[in-house]
Symmetry: C2
Subunit: 379 residues, 2 copies
């Protein structure tokens, strides 16, 4: 129940022990096709250019920036969390000139601020974080943000690492040009093959670049030879990771993507009701509460690091502390994919109560468990 | 028995179905340490900077070039195979000015040519391919090559993708500054976490770069925070791939690295004797024959593509055709790691005989099998 990896279901673990076939084997080509179709389903997109990048989520993130950003491009990124700062670094390494739209850590971007930043800086690329893993804040108003960018002829890159497969995300309907994600969050897969999707406008920009992409490994134009119609060799695919991702995506399709979003809302809603009834406060307002990653404020005088360590070593439950401006002020409780189950929420609350009790802080675990049960019954 | 992935042993497959723990879990830190120690053993190095890169072999390759090459650096690369050309592309993307040392496809570099290229171009970085997967040629005289480079104050990057764990390789003794590899060749692991080692001189160059590394994901200076003493978060590691790599490296250590090199020589030697006795010719001279990847010339009028397809679909054996200048002229037969076993060689010869027979070419399979048996008995 940390910020990822979430628990991996046994079907996915089993899939990853499948004997290997070659990355150019006709049978593997079929697996590639199925994986791409399932990724399109999860992203809610028809984008032809939908692939698993051969690395963990940050590789898909860098693939987005290093392909979309050309030297000299003005790139607008947010300052409201850890992953906006990573966008900054990646965009600079791609040769971009980075400008900012501000919001406090733990809060989403305000569309008015995005509009003002566009008017001032005229960026060519705008990156935002749909679900900030570092703060537990969801970015609402996504269609408003993409509309502002498109009025200015800019392309939009969305970080959906902690939303894909867990929180409502509609790439095509919301007119997101590029989205990337990771396997180990709401898809409950092992990290190693990471979702990336580009629409035709974005791919056209990559195709028409004046300067070669700065990474060979992540060059989407080259990857087209392997993942496109040619199916010719570019680099060796992470075969086992793709076996795992395919199986994880099959589980998403079997459950149904909208049903999966509802499950996350329901289970995380019970978790939220529980910690509040125990006497703790959520860091995010309800408007931008992120079901997959629950940031909970900790009482003055408590030690987040010691708490997390106690939960891991004594209770076998992983949760995490805050990062950056929120370090020492919050704990982060994941409710992602296969981990989003009533039994995990019910096991967490007494463990949290025990952990805080060891720091001399008494919480009402009984009230918390009652609130969880009630929320689950209310459905 | 293709150019990789080789067959993965069941212990490694099982390791990859292990439930996940977090990439910052104290138990995972122990797994990281063990993996690094085992990598040092396989590379024959004491380099502190020895890590699995979070991607397949080409990611480790790009990590080597994008970190070592600064904009404006002259980079010397070979023209004798597919992977020299990839070095060229990666070095350019890192901002390097690429110059060449020539040798025909299928042959190694001549130290005299390397000396002449150094005198003419004064490169800062020299990349060479220890085991060319595209041609089946081994680069002998490695200590001669590194000595030439070091006389000129240059750093040496060695591609050991198809040699690590299968062919004699001594990173420290041979004074290689940077070496990278892949999991799916002689280590018989699934590709996804790829060996990279840098000595202090190379790491010093990275530390003193004037310009930031062009990739965030592969920036060795940033990776130090995770793989070095801090063990703090950089990016999510490919946990399952590291489980697999650790187990594969344990098998290397249990067998003994020198014993493993001997096994490859013995089994591939039997394969070579067999195909020669059948009436085929090896593409490489004995001096630069590569046991892990056997390039075999095919008779005039035969169709390599159809042959490979027949072996895969009818006999369940993967081999590959040639690339580049050798396309249509050779077949490539891997003898790597767990696949380097007598039974595989004995199964391959009749399948090859059948495949060629369908193209009207008669080979002496009986003589081939006799030669294999004799070679295996001779040991």
């Amino acid at each position: 129940m940390g910020p990822g990896p979430s628990n991996v279901p046994s079907r996915v673990l089993q899939a990853m022990s499948t004997p290997l076939i070659g990355h150019l084997d006709p049978a593997f080509i079929e697996i590639m096709k199925e994986t791409q179709d399932l990724l399109r389903y999860a992203f809610r997109t028809e984008n032809r250019w939908t692939i698993p990048v051969s690395g963990t989520g940050s590789a898909a993130m860098e693939a987005a920036f290093t392909n979309l950003v050309e030297p000299g491009d003005v790139v607008l990124v947010p300052t409201n969390g850890y992953f906006g700062a990573r966008m900054d670094s990646m965009a600079r390494r791609a040769g971009g000139e980075v400008v900012y739209v501000h919001a406090p850590w733990g809060e989403p971007l305000d569309p008015d601020d995005v509009r003002a930043a566009f008017a001032m800086h005229r960026p060519a690329v705008f990156g935002f974080v749909h679900a900030e893993t570092s703060t537990g804040a969801l970015q609402p108003h996504v269609p408003d943000l993409t509309a502002i960018a498109h009025e200015h002829g800019a392309l939009v890159i969305a970080d959906t690492v902690t939303s894909l497969g867990g929180v409502e995300l509609r790439v095509d309907e919301w007119e997101i040009d590029v989205a990337y994600s990771g396997g180990q969050k709401c898809l409950s897969c092992s990290p190693g093959a990471s979702p990336l999707t580009l629409n035709e406008t974005a791919f056209e920009k990559v195709r028409n670049r004046a300067e070669t992409v700065r990474s060979w490994y992540l060059d989407v134009g080259l990857l087209e030879s392997y993942w496109g119609d040619d199916r010719s060799y570019h680099h060796t695919a992470p075969i086992t990771a793709i076996y795992g991702l395919r199986e994880a995506l099959r589980l998403v399709a079997e459950e149904g993507i909208e049903e999966r979003w509802s499950r996350h809302l329901r289970i995380a809603g019970a978790l939220k009701a529980g910690v509040q009834a125990m006497g703790l406060e959520m860091n995010a307002d309800d408007e931008f509460w992120l079901p997959s990653l629950n940031a909970v404020r900790i009482p003055e005088g408590s030690d987040a690091k010691a708490l997390c360590r106690h939960l891991l070593l004594t209770h076998g439950i992983e949760i995490a502390g805050g990062l950056g401006e929120l370090a020492g002020k919050i704990i982060r409780i994941g409710c992602m994919g296969h981990s989003a189950q009533p039994r995990n929420v019910l096991a967490l609350l007494p463990a949290l109560g025990d952990g805080f009790a060891r720091q001399g802080i008494t919480l009402d675990v009984g009230a918390g468990l009652d609130a969880v049960s009630e929320a689950l019954r209310a459905g």
